[in-house]
Symmetry: C2
Subunit: 156 residues, 2 copies
Amino acid sequence: MSLTTTQLDEVRDRFLAYLRERGLRRTPERVAVLNALYATPDHVDADTLYARLQQEGAQVSRATVYNTLDLLIECDLAARHQFGRQQARFERAYAYWQHDHLICVDCGEILEFCDPRLQQIQETVAEIYGFEVSRHALTVYGHCRREACPNKAEAA
Amino acid sequence: MSLTTTQLDEVRDRFLAYLRERGLRRTPERVAVLNALYATPDHVDADTLYARLQQEGAQVSRATVYNTLDLLIECDLAARHQFGRQQARFERAYAYWQHDHLICVDCGEILEFCDPRLQQIQETVAEIYGFEVSRHALTVYGHCRREACPNKAEAA
DNA sequence: CTTCATGCAAAAAGTTTGCATCCTC
DNA sequence: GAGGATGCAAACTTTTTGCATGAAG
């Protein structure tokens, strides 16, 4: 799913507003990272995002990619996920409801879903344990049934 | 919650049976890692487990710790979790229902909970997306209300 | 012009690997 | 005995850090 030009403008404006109110500078590198993240709806790792920026000719270092991703997470324009391995994945977070992930352990395909019962679970847990819950991360693992799914043999 | 001696025996037997049926060797190092993991109910990272083994005088290398943890996960005696950071946490998995985790982002406390609605969510997702679901990982993040919780200022 | 942000490369943190030695079977 | 398992250390991967240079305000 792609965002409209108007939405992308809103995203950029929100980022710039955040930078302004925090007294941070508007640099072309920061904007480039934002654009690269919002160019596709997938879940990229930092290095892939870095490679993408290089490919586009943007002059951005890895350090700046990580740096900027942190800023984007702080202002809720990006989300970080840790899907099982030590490599974090990032996705855009604007105009997205809180959603969860379904991952095929064979082909690595990542699907998104949303179930209202999770909200209820959060509330229940918050009440029982006296927590002020801020967010959750649910990842469901399994085997997809796509014909094109490689490593199918692993499935039961 | 601690396991009884009988349960610990069952665990060891199960591990040894697994080694036997896979044609793997029963080494004192492997048993030491199992014991160290089952000595406490907490969620340890590999290095902490390694340090614990050293302290007990066990002669086990980091490589063997990782190696053995993989074996324990394969035979369902251990579970690996990736709580947000790039450092994996391990916990014993024998005689435990599938449970989920509630983490205080201020003090790092990890609580466990279980909600039957998750089972339903898994089933729903499996049906909608045509997945054969094998497991899930839900982590809820928030602020605990303990007096002793450090970094309380961060809470809203 | 001041100061913060960047790029680079080195360091850090976590995990995996290669190889000689040791120990289970 | 034979070959898998271990320990050690080095390699590797991902992320963070320090510092001189560069550019935003």
